[in-house]
Each structure stands twice: as C-alpha cells, then as structure tokens.
Symmetry: C2
Subunit: 333 residues, 2 copies
C-alpha cells in the first residue's frame, strides 16, 4: 500500500477530479464522482472514499461504460416521476441532473419520484438524500447492486447488498440521514476487512457450500446474508423491485451477468422518492414537523448509549473540515 498523505477536503476533491479527467472522464462525470468520493472520506466512510477510485477506473473496461456520458432528463407535465437516462455513465452526474426537476415536482405536488436509468452505481446513497434533506425535503433512495446476498432460507447469491437511504430535514442542523445495506455488511466493508486481515461478524455470510463463515475471502466467494434474517431479506427484495422491475432497470443478478470482467461495478438504476413536508400536515393544522421531530431526537439522545444514525458521520465531517483528511496516495492509480 502507498503512503498516506494529508489533504484539505477541497484539495482532495480537486485531485480526485483531475485524476479522473486524466483517465478519460468528462468534467461532468469526474465532478460528480469526486463529490461522492470526497464526501465519503470527509465523513469517515472509507469504504466509499479513495478506496473506490479503482472501481470507477475498472468500470471503463466494461465495453459500454461511458466516461463521457451526458445524462438526459425527461420531465412530463402531468407526471410526478422524473426520469434521467445516465446513458451508461456513472450515477453522480445523473443525480445532479435530476435534483432540481424532482424538487420542483415535490414542491408543487407534495410527493415526487426520480428514476435514474442506465448508470454504473458505485457510490453510497446518503449524499443524495442529504442533499435533498438539506433543502427541506424528506427523501428515500434505493439501488440494487451485483448478486452478493442469499435470500432468507437460501444459500446462493441473488440480491445485491441493496442499500436504502433516508433523509429528514432538521432546519439549521445537518439532516438526519441513514444509508444502510440490506445485508449484515456492505460489500466494501468486507473488502476492507479482507485487506486488513479481520474477521466477519457471525451471521454475516456463508461460504460457497452454504456453511457459516467469518472469513472475508470465503464470504466473497460464497454469499452474504441479509440483516435481521427474513426481515432484511424482504427489504432487499423490495429494493430489487423498486430499482429494477419498477423503473425497468437491472436486477442485481442481471448486473452480475453483465459484469463479464467481474469488476464489481454494479449497473442498473436508482429510485428516489421526495416529499415536501408542507403538504403532509393535516389541512388547517400548523406544519411543525421539524420541531416535532426534534422532540423525538432529544428523547432518543437522552438515553445513554444511543446516537442518531448520522451523528458519527457529522462528527467526522467537522474534524475533517478543520484538520483535513489522511488518505492513501492515489496519484499512481
């Protein structure tokens, strides 16, 4: 492994973007990817930080991956579902193209959806729900992956690690955001544990013969398991349906079939739902969703040992913005 270097968050963004442009990405594609990689390093989510750059570069080996893609947005006057075709580029640029139209729809109609089609999605989902929640919206995001996870009761990979993310606005405070895989572990976490020589928690995976394993390498060759047994499996199935069949994109097993070079860069769609809370309070009653939620957060945090899902990330962010981030030197990627 290469030496670690300390960079400010802005410097990291510039360096990632320059590297990607140098490797053949358009400015728009590189800018979006640099946003998500920088945000992950800044927030201490290392499995989606600099560690991911090789996945973006490797994705270009897929014959149809398009590092120069210009996403196209379809907005229909009647419908509240906004579509963005990523044209085989990467998800961040497609999301950027869809944010304003879907927020416009949500403001007028109260609830809207954003369907992102035909993208490679190697990023975390919290950046998009955070973006929307910072602007006052309640937001959900769902995407499939490659087939890594056995359904409850089964032994063979079928589902992706299928994350769902949720964002809740908190006025002047950073939003409450969670982004969680529907498997016990995220794929990137297992790859990091393998590199670090660490063991998986019990119940996270089975080997290729269907036996429980704590060995990251055996898990990567076998199948991951859903969190919370059949309940996490139901959520993984729901996410396949939303990001796959509903919007006419790939299921995880279809993404795996397409990934003939075994690169691990999932291809398919992402589905988001966006709610403007000003439409959601009962007619004639005051809209006090933000202060009401704070009462719940206060009660939750009053219990010793608890935290808000996004608390650790925002603490890491504050530190990174003050001190910069320490990352592997990736100039030779």
């Amino acid at each position: 492994m290469s030496d670690k270097i300390r960079l400010s968050v802005a410097e990291l963004h510039t360096k990632v973007q320059e590297l990607l442009v140098d490797k053949g990405f358009s400015f728009e594609q590189a800018d979006g990817i640099a946003d998500t990689i920088t945000a992950a390093e800044r927030d201490g989510c290392l499995s989606h930080g600099v560690f991911r750059i090789p996945f973006y570069l490797a994705a270009l080996k897929n014959e149809d991956a398009n590092a120069q893609a210009i996403p196209s947005v379809s907005v229909n006057e009647t419908s509240s579902v906004v579509h963005v075709d990523g044209h085989n580029g990467f998800c961040p640029a497609a999301l950027k193209a869809g944010f304003e139209p879907v927020m416009d729809k949500a403001r007028t109609r109260g609830i809207a959806a954003l369907a992102i089609h035909n993208v490679y999605n190697i990023a975390a989902l919290w950046p998009e729900v955070e973006h929307l929640a910072q602007r006052g919206f309640v937001a959900f995001a769902f995407t499939a992956a490659n087939a890594y996870v056995a359904p409850a009761g089964g032994t063979k990979p079928l589902f992706g690690t299928n994350p769902m993310a949720f964002g809740w606005p908190r006025g002047d405070k950073p939003p409450m955001v969670f982004d969680q895989a529907s498997s016990v572990c995220a794929r990137g976490e297992i790859q990091l544990m393998k590199n670090a020589g660490e063991s998986l928690p019990d119940g996270a995976a089975i080997d290729k013969d269907g036996h429980p394993t704590n060995d990251p390498e055996a898990a990567l060759a076998g199948a991951q398991l859903p969190f919370g047994q059949h309940k996490g499996s139901s959520i993984a199935l729901m996410i396949e349906l939303l990001a796959g069949a509903l919007i006419g994109d790939f299921f995880s097993y279809q993404s795996s079939e397409k990934d003939v070079h075994n690169i691990g860069a999932p291809f398919g769609g992402e589905f988001l739902m966006v709610i403007d809370p000003s439409h959601a309070a009962a007619p004639g009653t005051a809209d006090r969703h933000i202060e009401h939620a704070e009462e719940l957060f206060t009660r939750l945090l009053a219990q010793e040992g608890t935290r808000l899902p996004s608390g650790r990330r925002f603490a890491a962010r504050e530190k990174s913005l003050n001190e910069g981030v320490l990352v592997s030197d990736f100039s030779d990627f």
Copy 2:
C-alpha cells in the same frame, strides 16, 4: 378460554360486525374492523384476528375514542397528498375513505400519498397494501404504535413496534406483500406467547433493568428490541418520523402518554405512498414490470428453503376459504 367454533370466512365477518355494532360501533366502523379481523383469521395471522376484538372494545374506554366517527377526506387539486381525518375513530374506516382518491392521484401523477390522521390503529398493515397492489399499484404503509421498543444502544421503550408494509402487483396472481414490525417480535406475538407459556427468541427483549430476557412477561414490562440491531432501529425511527412528525400525528411515546388506562390501543396516524408503475418505466421503453418481477420471484423460489414473504399467508387463505376458520367463541366478549 372459551371453546373453539368453526365458521366460514363470511360467517366470521358477519358475526364480528354484529358484535361490534351491538357494542356501540357504527356500521361503517364495524364493517372496516370486521374486514381486518376476518382477513387476519382467514390468512392465519392470529395475533390480528379475533384476539384483537377486546382491544377494540377496550379502546372505547379512552375518553375521546369515537365508535361512530365518520372519516372526512381532504383532496386538494394541486397536491398529490390526500388527507383523511379519522376523527378519533378506528383506522380501517378511514383507509376505506382514502383508497379511491389516492389511487386517482397516483394514476394521474404516478406517485401519491395518503395521510390518515387521528385514528386508533390496532390492525395489521398488509390489508391496505394488498388492496392497493391488487389494483395494480406499488404501495408502502407505515404506522407507529405505543412506546414498546428501545432504540439501538438504549434500554428504555421509545419507539413503537412500528410496522412497515410493502405491496407489489402480480397481475392475475395474489400480490407480493410483506408487513413487518421493526422490532424482533410484534407486540401481539409476545402477548400470544405469554398466554401460551412460550419463551421469546434471544435478542427480542430486555427486562425493566435493561438485561436480556426470554420471558414474555418481563419483556412486556421492559422493552422490546429492534430487529437487526441499529438497522432495524433506524427503520423504527424513520417510521416514527413518517407517521408522526411528517403528517403531524403522534409519536409512539405520545400515544403511550395518551393511553392513561394502559389499554394498548395505539392512537395517531398512518402514512402510505402509492405508485402507478405505468409512470415509472423509462420514457419510450415498454412497461413490463410485472413479467420482469416474476423472473426474480422464479429465481428466488428456485432456491430450496426460500419463500415469498406472503406465500404462507396466501396458502392459509386458500385453506380457510375452503374449510372455514376455527376461532375462539367470542360471543361473550
């Protein structure tokens, strides 16, 4: 306990409805409640069947519970969020009032929401998502409960058992539906285990001092735990926000505070999202969401040991429609 009697599903519905009218419920309220109790017995979900009748009757002891409530619907031409005020009645009648308007909105706009306000909600959520999915929609439902569940890391009840339900249409087949508590066990399951002298699974609950317990009675006096540790806790929190702060209704702890007679009939709101899949495929592409999803279901069921979330329920339904259901005699409730 009283003797068991065998009834046809239709007979059970009539008897439950007559009993409720006799106890002071209006026809509309009794009809909605009889629907949900009958559906639960028919589908083998005993914790939401006849077992629940005493909860409905006890709820009338709450000073403001209104067995004669006539739900009022608010539809705004611009907004896709339909509101129903249940006026302190029970949820089933309010849902019935909201179904057509929210489906109309979803058909036109692609995505719509239904906010049910001011209801006692003692029922399962799968009947409403099944109703919507049978009509071709993708549907989500969320509701809070009373404060029974400790947040991840904590030891005191804060969240409800907070179910979420999801429904997916399958054309001529019964829809794919799941309805799962964000706790390891549903509250009603623990009450049934207590009655049957059974033990709770590990990780389901802590006693009032915060120690793990398998004793249903100690669990009911202590706190239940979320499924999948912090991930289920995040989902429980999301559901509090959606069914509570977003639509201006009660959090679970507020419902508990209101329940001064400790009846266990949660009061508050329910939030549903409804999608018309015909809006969700990429523009210019064929909408083949149903056949596409069947390909996934076929692959899932090809793995030995798996099942679709709703499979067991539909098998029980077929049996009940042929043979009737065996229920406790509830004529002296």
